[in-house]
Symmetry: D2
Amino acid sequence: MKKLQGIYEHAAQMTAKGKVATYIPALATANPDAFAVSLVSMEDKIDFGECTQLFTLQSVVKVFSFMVAMNHHGIEEILRYVDVEPTGDSFDSIVRLESHNNKPFNPMINAGAITVASLLPGETMYEKVKSVTLFLEQIIGKKVHIDNEVYLSEYHAADYNRAIAYILQANGFLKSNVEEALQVYLQLCSISVNVEDLAKMALYFATNGEKSTATCSKEVIHIAKALMFTCGMYNASGKFAAFIGLPAKSGVSGAIIAVVKNGAIEHLQGPIGIGIYGPAIDQVGNSVAGIAFLTQLSKEFDLFCL
Amino acid sequence: MKKLQGIYEHAAQMTAKGKVATYIPALATANPDAFAVSLVSMEDKIDFGECTQLFTLQSVVKVFSFMVAMNHHGIEEILRYVDVEPTGDSFDSIVRLESHNNKPFNPMINAGAITVASLLPGETMYEKVKSVTLFLEQIIGKKVHIDNEVYLSEYHAADYNRAIAYILQANGFLKSNVEEALQVYLQLCSISVNVEDLAKMALYFATNGEKSTATCSKEVIHIAKALMFTCGMYNASGKFAAFIGLPAKSGVSGAIIAVVKNGAIEHLQGPIGIGIYGPAIDQVGNSVAGIAFLTQLSKEFDLFCL
Amino acid sequence: MKKLQGIYEHAAQMTAKGKVATYIPALATANPDAFAVSLVSMEDKIDFGECTQLFTLQSVVKVFSFMVAMNHHGIEEILRYVDVEPTGDSFDSIVRLESHNNKPFNPMINAGAITVASLLPGETMYEKVKSVTLFLEQIIGKKVHIDNEVYLSEYHAADYNRAIAYILQANGFLKSNVEEALQVYLQLCSISVNVEDLAKMALYFATNGEKSTATCSKEVIHIAKALMFTCGMYNASGKFAAFIGLPAKSGVSGAIIAVVKNGAIEHLQGPIGIGIYGPAIDQVGNSVAGIAFLTQLSKEFDLFCL
Amino acid sequence: MKKLQGIYEHAAQMTAKGKVATYIPALATANPDAFAVSLVSMEDKIDFGECTQLFTLQSVVKVFSFMVAMNHHGIEEILRYVDVEPTGDSFDSIVRLESHNNKPFNPMINAGAITVASLLPGETMYEKVKSVTLFLEQIIGKKVHIDNEVYLSEYHAADYNRAIAYILQANGFLKSNVEEALQVYLQLCSISVNVEDLAKMALYFATNGEKSTATCSKEVIHIAKALMFTCGMYNASGKFAAFIGLPAKSGVSGAIIAVVKNGAIEHLQGPIGIGIYGPAIDQVGNSVAGIAFLTQLSKEFDLFCL
């Protein structure tokens, strides 16, 4: 445990190099020094830091809502609404939506995630949100809640996302109305979890969902992992793939999930899920301490997966 | 062998759905019906089609010249000249080079590859080209030659690449002069191989180069594999990752290398390298039959690597 | 009169080369063969075609709402919200709004016009709209009405404009809320006039507003005429300037106003205002017959103004 | 003369707000405090500052080479190679050339001017350059020379223009080879004149060339003036049109020509040509003192031309 402890402690010192997200007031109140990590295998787990601290999923949820939509409509149908190609544009870019009346590049950017929100199963906003929280609850094994303060805060700073939604609607890539897609999307971003929950979410991918009650086809899990690998870490996805080499997804709350298909980290063996919370983020939106932790972890325990 | 044979035969019928690249005369003469596949493990190999047919590497070489430059200058120095992020722009795009005076997004697009060509070790063009052919010869275990007809044909259709090179020079991302970088780049694209050579090149990655005389640090091999996974298959890289899930690189000649870190395909076991030649390519530039073959192969033999 | 009659008749035959705007149902019902022209000097007027036919101003109103806003806030203040530079982008482009968080290029594109709508004097939507209709009524000398069918039709096809408005709001270039700016903008587009009204609106510029009860500073009239000359005719503004050479503004309803500062057209002398209605428009959005008419008119009566 | 003298002196104090162009060494040596103005009518002239100082035309020449090409090939043929639409992009932008394989937006941006250089009459570079210098010599009434130091300096900093030329060639918008078009273009930019020469060049437009031995069709002169009005002053063309309202063209050397079709400035009457040299330029590339002079001049003598 000494090696892992050392990696955690070294990474924890990096929080000072990042800044808490401030584009919505509710995120700005996070403790910039917070840094918690949870690693879980099928049999065991290791925790560092304050593991009961709740925070919101933000972009991490994009992977799961995409899976729920795919499970419901089938892969082919969803691909008519959103592609799975990485893009060098920033997560809230509109340019590509305009230039060719094209569908969103992938469900990890806001445009794609808003389209996916409109495709979720259910007649009402409540049902659509429920379809994702239910899926997450089956994965985590406990109830999850929406942080209403964060949701309202996001809702009041949603001009840009609303603009994206209207362009999607104009181009025929929204299956609900704008208001519904937007509120569902923002509610999903505001789902509240802790790092142990994140670790279980990551473990779900590591095991291809095989022992979970949360049913999902293997094809869909593969697509989700490929998306995490190629575009899960915002505009640093390529560097994350090159230097860490694990499927992972981050959110501006400082959350990260990272997937180890088959590894050995201290006494943990086999599929391992990693959950991280470090709200001090870098310029592209990733937890500074989280990236530092995963970089050294991957190197020390030889986790590069390709 | 029947299953693999069936996959090959089914894919071979797909050649009619693609077209031979015509932007340079020398590529346009390729036989559109040609389709050869080679699979090689450490102990054995399996071939389909005409495996002695020579063709040029085209963009496949970009991975190797990047590795040679990294080996020579070190990872950090090369990253000052070229990033490793995927981009949704087409391979010959100039837009990003202009808008922010930025370095090339990655070495798989032409801009990045021309920058890399300028960074190769050696005083002369000859030495720079030699540095890559030597590396390939150590990997393949035999001499390789440059197809001079293809080279001259490319050289006479190089307006766009030359424009890219001048912008790179203006922005300080070229270490040689334009003419040298361009000629080195185009000569490397014109290196001539057969599918068995490709398979060996792929196997090099599958084994992390461990038993090869071609020395390369593990870190550089990891970066190269990550680049192949995130942006090796032109603008279909995301779909390739999602539905096939292997590090791979394609060229407009119809060449593909695909890397199986640890698999079981018929009697082949462990690390497996796959080489493909199918000059009938789709709209983004990938061999139609090659993609069909790899799609079914990955599914039937469970090769998805994440 | 024979020469002018001939020019009108020749131009009238061009209507078949254009198409009525169809992006909103209410415009699509216009008679594609309609073509009316009105020329008015301080003393006299000449009409061709059905001059009592009502139609909506569409983009023609942009010049006038810009003038009302300038008159109210002063030139300097308005220039903080919208520039006066031509752009090669299409009238509904978003790209520039995103790429540099920049203010709209000019008030003739939708982004600029929506910003201007938010800057109109008045506390309520009604008052803002009224500020422009009042100005127009003083210029024309009669009441104008809003075509409610067209307004509602536009309102229900406003996704793209709404997206633009949200981006403007996000970037701080909207002085009212989105809904108000948008509704005011669309109501102004739906103001209903006939060609004689248009001719009087054009004459207002030709006389620099000197004898009108509609007060406006000469500086503001100059800016408005410069805008018409550099970007009044959508993406054909440059060709209109080069081959016709008059300040002019068009709308997708097929309306055009064109300003002759000092000319001699048949028995009309001095400042002349030209109003045109020809709903069959070309690809960039200008009345086909209108362009044909003005091209020959400018040549025959030597109206090129520079 | 007191009023004009005052305007000159006030403007002369503005030189400190600009900076001499430094992108090529030969321009960087200009005296930043220099400021000379020449006004010429058919009968008389007024000079301020050091009027014998030579400087290079830079972008001012673009108008004249365009006219020579139009005179030789006819308007229609030239418009197949270059459009006459203003664009909000900077003068050396490549983006539009790439995105739609489109022809250059207008001959005032570098792309359009390089295309025009390739279209000049003559078999050799020498003859092509000669075709423009000859035209200028007929307008000015004396020999002009090319400043070889400036030319060589520009030639060695031409990466970006060379890139543009290669893209033009790739897209079929170059009628000579790249090297010839580029050298002709850069030689034309390096033509050396003084402010009195500039004033005569401006007067040529003011009189529509009617009394000059430099023959040019009225249509071509109109197109040239329209281009100056809509896009002659780089990315401040719209503001120049709105607040000064004269056809004009500037160069980064600090040169400006401005055209008064019919005015009264002190004892000068009728068509007046204005030449300005003030090498301290603003961020978009226009002489700071020149803009200040023309702004006040236009206001005081009521020169706004629309």
